[in-house]
Each structure stands twice: as C-alpha cells, then as structure tokens.
C-alpha cells in the first residue's frame, strides 16, 4: 500500500507542476458524488491480481461466456428442436415448400446461411465486448 501512496503523491506533484493545465473554474453543480478516476492504469490491477483486477477479469469472462451461451442456446433450440418437431408433427416430414420437401429445404439449404449469419453476429458482438473492455482499461 505504501508503494501505491508514494506513486499517488508523485503523480499529484507532477500534475501540479504541469504548466498548461486548465485553470480551475467554479462549477455550478459540484460533482462530489461522482466516482473518482482511478490513479493507476487498470491493467496494473490485473497484473498484480488485486481484488479489483479480479473483478474486471471475471466481468470480461462472464460477458463473453454469456454471449457464447446465448448463441449455443439458440443453436441448441434450432438443431435440437427440428428432430423433435418432425417427431411430434409427422405432417411436417412430408410437407413441401416451393416444390421441395420441407426437411430437405431446411437441412440441405437454409440452415447453412443461418449458421453464417449467426456466426457473423457473434463475431461482431464479441469484438465489441473486447473493445469495451480495452476502453475501460485505457481510461487511466
């Protein structure tokens, strides 16, 4: 902890010496309740495996896992649901759409573009999650 305090002091004195710092002005609504900015890069918290760092890591892993689980659930419902649907509603097995048997239209055609669209949406969201995490870490 002493290390942390010393580095804080150093930082304060350094910023005080900063000449082109904007002048202090009176604000109409003092934001005393606003959260204070962390004084060290958050990546240090992760590197030193402090409680705070752990919280950040757990939140990242949990966000990504929830996303993955969501995709897998949807996939499971579609893929697991189709045989069940054919089992429970036998008319669907021989139904035809556009002159093609429905099971063939779905299993030999439509399901492939659906996979690609699902994967594309996932990649977009996963990259977005990572970008948010990186931005969070960068605001020193």
């Amino acid at each position: 902890m002493t290390e942390k305090r010393i580095s804080d002091l150093l930082r304060v004195s350094r910023s005080a010496a900063d000449a082109d710092r904007p002048r202090r002005v009176v604000v109409t609504s003092p934001r005393t309740a606003a959260a204070r900015r962390p004084r060290r890069p958050l990546t240090t918290e992760i590197d030193e495996q402090t409680r705070l760092g752990e919280v950040y890591m757990v939140s990242l892993v949990r966000t990504q896992f929830r996303l993955a689980l969501f995709v897998c659930t949807v996939l499971g419902c579609v893929v697991g649901g189709l045989p069940l649907l054919f089992l429970l509603v036998p008319e669907l097995r021989s139904a035809e759409l556009l002159g093609v048997p429905l099971p063939w239209l779905v299993l030999a055609g439509l399901i492939y573009p659906a996979f690609v669209v699902g994967a594309w949406l996932y990649v977009r969201q996963a990259e977005r999650n990572e970008r948010h995490f990186a931005e969070l870490m960068d605001q020193e």
Partner: protein, 494 residues
C-alpha cells in the same frame, strides 16, 4: 470408362500437391516454421486451408453415399460438420489462439500445468488421428481401384507417400498452401459436374421421386432413429473442436481476433460446399443408382454421356484424391507434431521420424483391417473427440475451478468409453436393437458422462486447481491490444 482420364487426373493432383509443397521448402527453416507456418497466414488462406483439410473423403464421397443409402436423416451429417465450427467459434477459437499453444497437449499443459494431463491428451490425439487417417487410405485404395483396376493397397500407398513427402519437405507452411489449393479443387470438382448434371436433369424433364417415397422422410431408415439423430448431432457439433488437425490450424492466425474471423470464413466455405452432396444423393435416388460411396463418381457418367461424361468423372476423381491428400496431410502433421514433442522432445529431426510413424501405422492398419464404411470410422473419431477434448477445452477455457485430477478423470473416462464403444462396434458387431444404437453412436451418453466426471471430480478435489489459473485466464481472454502480464508459458518446442 477408360482409365486414361482418371489416371491423368490423379497424377495431375498428386504432382500439383508435390510442386506447391516444394515452394514451402525455401521458407521453412526453423522448428517454428515447421509447426505453425510462422503465423503469417492471412484469414482467407487460413480458412481455405482449414476447409481443404477438413473436407475429407467422408465429406466428398461419404455424405452423398450415406444420404443415398439411408435418406433424409443423413442430412444431419454435413449440418453437424458445419455447425461444429459455430460451436468452436463461440466457445473456443479466440481463447485457444491466445493460449499460444501449438497442439491440444500444449493447451492441456498450459491450462492445467500438469505433464500427466499432457501425456493423456497426446495419446488421445494420436488415437483420434490414426482413426481418421485409416479410412482415408482405405477409400483412396477403393477409388483408385474403381478408376484403374489396380489393387486396393496401391491407391492408399500413393496417397501415403505423397503426404509423407509433403510434410517432410516443407512442414506446415507448404501444407497451408497445399490445403488452401485443395479446398478450391474440391469445390470445383463437385460444382462443375453438378452444373452439367442439373442441365441434363432439366432437359430430361426434371424427374422427381415417386410421391410418398419414405426415403425422403426424416426419422426413418434405421433402428431408433430419434436417438441416432440426436447422438449424431452431439458427436458432430461437439467433436469438431476436438479434432487435432483442425485446431493446429488456428495457431497460424496472428491473434485471437483473426482466429474468430477465420472461423467465420470457414463456416461460409463449408456451407457452400455442403450444399452439393445432398443434391448428388437426391439425384442418385431419382435415377436409381446403387447405394454406395461411389455415387459421386458414377452420377456424372450416368447423366452426361460420351467424352464430356468421362472428363467430368475424371474431375470428380481428382477432387476425391485432393480430399484424401489434404485431410491425410493435415492429420499427419498434427500426429507427427504430437509424437515428436511428447515422445522425443521436439526439434526438426524427430519431427521427420515421427512423420514416417504417423503415416505408416494407419497405412498398415488400412491394409490389414477389413474394409469399414468411411463415415463409420470417421464418426467414431468425432465421438471420441467430443467425449474427451470438448469438455477439456470448454471447461478449461470458461471454468476456473477445473482441477488437474478432474480433467484427467474426464479425459480417461469419456475418451475411454467412446473408444471402447467404437472398438466393440468395429470388431464385435453387428449387434441389434438398442445395443447397436448405443454402441454405434456413443456420443449421446459418453459426452454427458465425460462432462459430469470432469465437473464432479474437480469439485471434489478443490486443492488441485492449477496455481496460475488467474494468469492463464488473463492470457486466454484479454484482447492482444492490451498491455498486460500474460505469464511466461511457452510451448516447449520453440
């Protein structure tokens, strides 16, 4: 048909593979080049290579043959082989790339910090690899015999020699280019004849199936179709991530983000390819062709007569050989890599010796064993992968409380049960009723057992959680743009 066209096609494909592979010699100098192509491969090359590697004889010939034999239920096979990449994408791809491991045993060691788990993974990788290689050599022999009349072992030997040469001369760098080239050959070899076939079909008045043909209906054809369908779905969707030759390909991505994008491209390429086998199977039924793996080879000649038909048949044969070559090369690289690293301590020379071992054993097996349906043995490899590496990867990446003992127990119980069921099917069969269904399609019970064992044993041995699990989690999940301490673990071979 006259063998001349077919032989020419086969020779051209083999020559092209050797030549393209030879380009890699100049660039592969160090061990790192040999194993993972220096990680300088772009997503499209990489995705084509994964596609080329993944589309084996089972995909090129087997799927259409099985659809023709058993009907609509077999449509799940290509669906699962593609959908497996979606599961792999969301659960595994980026963290696995970020782990920095070269092989599955590397990942096991990095995550669980245990040499015992590493060894167990190595044994499973080699077993899955051999299980997958054997049917490739066997079907190469069968296709070669169909085309030229040569003895069955000749085709397998040809493929085995070219694969060994390729891996020995260039390592994976050259293999990446060979594989990428193979994907496009396979796509062309199936698509061009299909266009001609469809034209012939339309000009013949677009005949369809007789109304009410039970062949076209799902949940039909085998005993216990519902169980078999669900078990097939389980094995294919979860087994894909555990195939050693597929995972090794992800290490050639520069970072986790590229690994995701590569997987997305792979899904697109595979989806495009798998639209076609179903059409071959369907038309095979319409024209009443005999229900064998050869339907892809015989349909063009049947519908398009004369020289054009023979040329198309030659093209399909070339595609089939591309399929044998590419899958076998990828498997040989991964099996050889694992043997070299874990049995001899790494380096270029052991890698060469291991390559010979990796190719020779399954070739001998293919000559000795009785011919089994390609898709059966390949399906067994998927089931073993789904019951061993799938839980290891998923729990290892997302669950901090996985312990060394838990992982080992899950690998041994899950992988062991799936292997035992497969061996019983191959050696002991044929069985009947539920016994047949449960043994031929073990995934539906072996995968849940494997997960359960891994979780329960881990919870019972909380003191055996790896010491650096927090650091490993940072390594697996934080984007590369962040400057954080990711630990100092490196694969041992570098």
């Amino acid at each position: 048909m006259s063998p001349a066209y077919g032989v020419t096609a086969v020779v051209l494909v083999l020559l092209a593979a050797v030549l393209i592979g030879a380009f890699g010699i100049r660039v592969s100098r160090t061990t790192s080049d040999f194993y993972v192509a220096s990680r300088t491969v772009s997503p499209l090359w990489n995705a084509s290579a994964i596609g080329g590697e993944y589309l084996s004889a089972a995909s090129f010939l087997g799927v259409a043959g099985l659809i023709l034999t058993y009907g609509a239920d077999m449509l799940w096979l290509p669906v699962g082989w593609t959908g497996g990449y979606l599961v792999l994408l969301v659960l595994v791809s980026a963290p696995l790339r970020r782990s920095g491991a070269y092989t599955l045993p590397d990942f096991a060691e990095a995550r669980l910090e245990s040499m015992v788990v590493r060894r167990a993974s190595s044994v499973l990788v080699v077993l899955i690899g051999w299980l997958y290689l054997m049917p490739q050599f066997q079907s190469a022999g069968l296709v070669f015999r169909t085309v030229t009349g040569a003895p069955t072992w000749a085709g397998g030997l040809l493929v085995a020699v070219v694969v060994a040469l390729n891996v020995l001369s260039g390592g994976m760098r050259s293999i990446t280019f060979v594989q990428a080239f193979q994907y496009w050959i396979k796509l062309t070899a199936l698509a061009v004849p299909l266009v001609f076939i469809l034209i012939a079909w339309r000009s013949g008045g677009s005949p369809g199936l007789p109304p009410g043909d039970p062949w076209a209906l799902p949940l039909h054809g085998r005993e216990h179709p519902v169980y078999a369908t669900y078990s097939l779905i389980m094995a294919t969707f979860l087994g894909t991530m555990g195939l050693p030759h597929v995972l090794v390909r992800f290490y050639t991505n520069p970072d986790g983000r590229a690994a995701r994008r590569t997987t997305l491209l792979v899904l697109t390429l595979l989806g495009a390819f798998y639209l076609m086998p179903a059409v071959y199977g369907y038309l095979g039924r319409v024209y009443g062709l005999p229900a064998t793996d050869a339907v892809v080879l015989t349909l063009p000649g049947r519908l398009v007569g004369g020289t054009a038909g023979e040329l198309l048949t030659a093209l399909v044969t070339a595609g089939a050989f591309a399929a044998f070559l590419s899958t076998s090369s990828g498997l040989a690289v991964s099996v050889a890599g694992v043997i070299a690293q874990d049995l001899t301590g790494g380096g270029v020379r052991p890698f060469r010796r291991s390559t010979l071992l990796a190719v020779t054993v399954p070739f001998v097996l293919a000559c000795v064993a009785r011919p089994l349906p390609v898709a059966d043995v390949v399906g067994l490899a998927f089931a073993v992968a789904a019951s061993s590496f799938c839980p290891l990867l998923v729990l290892g990446i997302w669950w901090r409380r996985l312990t060394t003992v838990g992982a080992l127990a899950g690998l041994l119980v899950g992988g062991g049960l799936a292997c035992a069921a497969g061996v019983a099917t191959i050696v002991g069969g044929p069985y009947s009723g539920w016994k047949e269904a449960l043994l031929a399609q073990p995934a539906a019970w072996s995968v849940p057992i494997s997960f359960a064992v891994m979780i329960v044993v881990s919870l019972l041995t909380p003191s055996r959680v790896p010491r650096n699990v927090a650091r490993t989690m940072v390594r697996l999940h934080t984007p590369e743009t962040l400057d954080v301490d990711r630990g100092d673990w490196r694969p041992r071979s570098v």
